[in-house]
Amino acid sequence: MSRDIEDQLRAAYAARADAVTESSLRLAEPPSDEIQPIGDVIDISTARRRWITPALAAAAVAALAIGASIALTVRSEHHHAAPAVTPSTIAPTPPSLVPSPSVPQQSPTTGAPTSPGPSASATTPTPPAAPAPAYEFGYQPLWPFANLASAQAWQAANRSGGHQPWHGDAGQTALSFTQGYLGLTEINLVTSTRATADGTYVGVGYRNPNGAAQTAAVLFLVRFGPDADSPWEVVGSDDTTFSLEQPAYGSQVQSPMLVGGHITGSDENIRVTVRSLASTAPVGGSCCQPAGGNGTAWAMSVPFSASAGQVLTIVATTGGHLQTVERFAIQGVHT
């Protein structure tokens, strides 16, 4: 077979398929008994797609959650998942219409029992009952939950009958993040899983034409909550031959931002996309920069559009040899 025609065919298919994006799909829901009994003709083409983007549910819950955020410390132990960020924590509180920003501006926050007029101190005594121990989340929460309240809402729903149980599986969460949120549908395998005391490293990748699994990125996930059944949250990536280092993890950014890192490889083609849980479509991006070499620095200016207080996921991809995306790296920042 002609290699040339095969390459042309792959490129044409990729171009045509890439024209179909998650945001271009019409709203729909998976078939469900809750919609109609099995055997009925199910017309769900106009139904809401609330299940596909946990972010939507997360945003709704976040809108009702109390923003009783208090101070906390920052953990820092990992190359990319070692944020010097201002974590948000939430203690059980009655609903409020005050949105809770997931990334406070100045200092780390901690959760505390709430009452009208939350205290700035996590140790404020409440005579009738001992305050619940504050939970600390020292990372930039990227996906699927925007904040602890959303994660806890899922956890409560899961305990009372189960809902989207993949949140409890680090591998499935990593793959859903890659395919569903980042839109990198060619990355369709979990290639490795390594649990540590802090979280789980999940390799995601694809099979090359010889059938061998190739790792495209190693994502770092932590449980979003203090419990053993708290859901997994993607918080960063462990980069090796293709890194995204600028802007720094957890930093505040404004458009346009300089995005960069290092790369080892040949004939690479770097594309940067910026995503936010507030939007199903990318909120920014830049394409494409040729790159290559051994540990060569790369950088590009990336414009984006996002309102203040949003957590952004920057994703840099490269590929073009075997498939459009062969490696990627992510970075969590906020506006």
Binding site: I5, A15, Q164
Partner: protein, 171 residues
């Protein structure tokens, strides 16, 4: 997701979350029209939901979905062909061979895809599964319900023919 009672609702939801976009992309390569592609994929998931009790393995479910999408795309094209023949008899218009891809793609890609559409439907399916879905010959054979040998020979024939068409279009 594994069990003796088949896939549950959550498993179907997860499969939908993970595979819908990729399947729509596969379908659009076969029917070249996103609205039809989405219908085909939605029908595939409805079928999966209906038969989920018999599917115990998510991998098998993905295979089921892929086959359903290919079969659904074939039905869509068959219906479209019938409509085209009907319209040509009545008003003799030229039914548009290209739909929404025409405005989206670079000329080089349009040329390739136009050439692909000149191939027999089975060969188009094999090429899409091979060069877009990156399936192995065995997986393609399973998806289409044909032998591996048939996949290999049809793919080879398709590429040869494609090359001939492309060379002809360059002249």
């Amino acid at each position: 997701m594994r069990g003796t009672g088949g896939l549950d609702e959550n498993a179907v939801s997860m499969l939908y979350a993970m595979h819908r976009l990729a399947l729509v992309r596969l379908a659009v390569l076969l029917v070249d029209d996103q609205a039809s592609a989405e219908d085909v994929v939605q029908d595939a998931f409805v079928g999966l939901h209906r038969h989920r009790a018999q599917l115990r393995d998510p991998e098998a479910a993905v295979g089921y979905l892929r086959t359903a999408v290919v079969n659904g795309a074939r039905s869509t094209l068959r219906r479209r062909g019938t409509q085209r023949r009907f319209l040509q008899r009545r008003t003799a218009p030229e039914y548009p061979e290209e739909t929404d891809s025409a405005v989206l793609l670079a000329e080089e890609h349009r040329t390739v895809l136009r050439a692909v559409r000149g191939l027999p439907q089975r060969q188009q399916e094999i090429l899409a599964l091979r060069y877009w879905s990156n399936l192995t010959e065995a997986e393609i054979a399973q998806t289409l319900g044909i032998s591996r040998g048939a996949v290999k020979s049809q793919a080879s024939r398709a590429i040869d023919k494609l090359e001939t068409i492309m060379k002809g279009s360059e002249r």
